[in-house]
């Protein structure tokens, strides 16, 4: 599977890509990870769904989407000719649901990979539950592996004691690529009203606040498991992206930063090229895992 450059967009932070056509040519991107797709329609969580936090935000969208049938019939036809890789983020509450979605997406010719989201902290059953226990993570990965014939990426939750163990668990289940990290479970309170800020009380923390944790996890997993890594968590600029690549990421995703600057991805692509030029490095892949630790 080829990406024309290592800069892609994170699931849930770029819709299905279409809205960004109003800003720039999507063909500039290495790839687009679209919003989570589940077995059937989900309304998602109640409003309010977000809170601003220091250098970050909490969200609790709760996998709002119209389901895989609608995705295949109505959304896919609009995405399939994007001049970039489109990867579908596959979510569910049961193993059966994950399998069902993966099976359907497998049929779509223009989609060369899925990203199994076993790390969403914002739905009651399923989601993160699969991503914090090694055995269940292996199980769901294995089940999907059986029906999904193309590149299988699995997106890990950072809300665990031992991220390398989780990485190994999904590698054992047959994952081809690891994506890390999803959001950290957090909470915001309005001291004046004495109430939680978001309807679900807790939500997923993203943005630069989590970057140090994400970098650490990428680096740990890079040394523990021999699978390519898609790294993300708080990437705001080219320097951040380069740090993730040095720590071991082959590709990066940009999430929350798209909300702050809709033009951020093209800027990061340019910035990485400048860096490579300035350091006389031939290609972006030469810095993957190149951190100098002595």
């Amino acid at each position: 599977m080829q990406f024309k450059n290592p800069v892609t967009t994170a699931s849930g932070c770029f819709g299905y890509g279409e809205e960004f056509k109003d800003f720039y040519d999507l063909g500039l991107l290495g790839g687009i990870f679209v919003k989570a797709v589940t077995g059937s329609n989900r309304d998602g969580n109640k409003y309010p769904r977000m809170a601003e936090t220091p250098s970050g935000m909490l969200n609790s969208v709760g996998l709002q989407n119209k389901g895989v049938d609608h995705f295949c019939s109505s959304i896919y036809p609009r995405l399939k000719d994007f001049n970039t890789q489109v990867i579908v983020n596959v979510s569910g509450s049961t193993i059966e649901e994950y399998v069902k979605v993966a099976e359907r997406i497998n049929e779509l010719e223009g989609i060369h990979a899925i990203e199994l989201n076993i790390s969403c902290p914002n739905v009651k059953e399923g989601g993160m539950a699969f991503g914090v226990v090694p055995a269940t993570a292996t199980e769901v990965t294995k089940a999907v592996r059986e029906v999904y014939k193309k590149v299988l990426m699995v997106k890990l939750s950072p809300n665990v004691t031992n991220i390398s163990e989780m990485a190994k668990a999904v590698a054992d289940g047959g994952a081809d690529v690891l994506t890390l990290i999803n959001t950290l479970l957090g909470m915001a309170i309005d001291a004046e009203t004495q109430k939680p800020v978001i309807s679900t009380i807790t939500g997923g923390l993203s943005g630069p606040a989590i970057k140090p944790i994400a970098l650490r996890m990428v680096w740990q997993v890079f040394r523990a498991v021999k699978l390519p890594i898609v790294g993300l968590g708080g990437i705001m600029n080219a320097t951040d992206a380069i740090e993730f690549m040095l720590a071991g990421a082959s590709v990066v995703q940009v999430g929350t930063a798209n909300f702050i600057d809709p033009m951020v991805c093209p800027k990061i692509i340019d910035g990485i090229n400048d860096y490579l030029d300035r350091h006389n490095i031939a290609a972006a892949q030469d810095i993957i895992g190149a951190l100098k630790v002595c």
Binding site: F20, D43, Y47, P48, R49, M50, N59, P262
Partner: protein, 256 residues
Amino acid sequence: MKKFAQDFKVTGNTRLNKRHFILELQAPVPLPEILPGQFVQVLVHNSPSTFLRRPFSIHFVDYAKNTLSLLVQVKGEGSRHMGMLNPGDKLNLVYPLGNSFSLPSAGKLLLVGGGAGVAPLMFMGDVLNKKGVRPDFLLGFRSADEVSQVDEYSRYGKVYLSTDDGSMGEKGFVTQNPVICQSPLPYDRIFCCGPDAMMHAVAKLAAGKGVACEVSLENYMACGYGVCLCCITPTDKGNERVCIEGPVFETSRLQW
């Protein structure tokens, strides 16, 4: 509709009263067509405690000067910082965002606004006038010292005033103003923007009198351009995005 993220130049910062000011912002390139009810997402640089952009309605557009204006109420860090901007400073905007009010080219229209919610109504008045319609305005403020720009609104239509404390215009909420209490209500459509409670009250009143009503919602937003799904409101079509399908909704469609 094409959208932009650009550095605007502050060309004016006019304080209306203690809590409100108007920022005039000049675009670096000719402004695209902008519709009344649309909004911008402001990047508040230089403020360590504002990470996300802040949404503000477009208060006025002057294509000749290539400027747009925002009417801002000081709420927290973001709006406070914006209030300290000086002519010449830069402010990054993502724009134009959202749908717009419907723009009838005939009929009797009532534009109801409260507090900073009056913001989009000035531009709405201007555009309606250009289409040959003179709306009425019903504007609500806390008290006389927050009443402002009445002359400007008067250029576009007749202005009715309410203040909470009765220090100017009618006393009480806008929904207690005689102009909106008439039965039957002699308007074809009401456009409303203001605090949630006011919009609910106006929507209910309009529904009771069988008059169509549009409101402009101010939900919390992360992106402002439809990709995060944080700003939703339940409608007859399920959860819709206030930043894309809105901010203006026909009240009959809302389940709020």
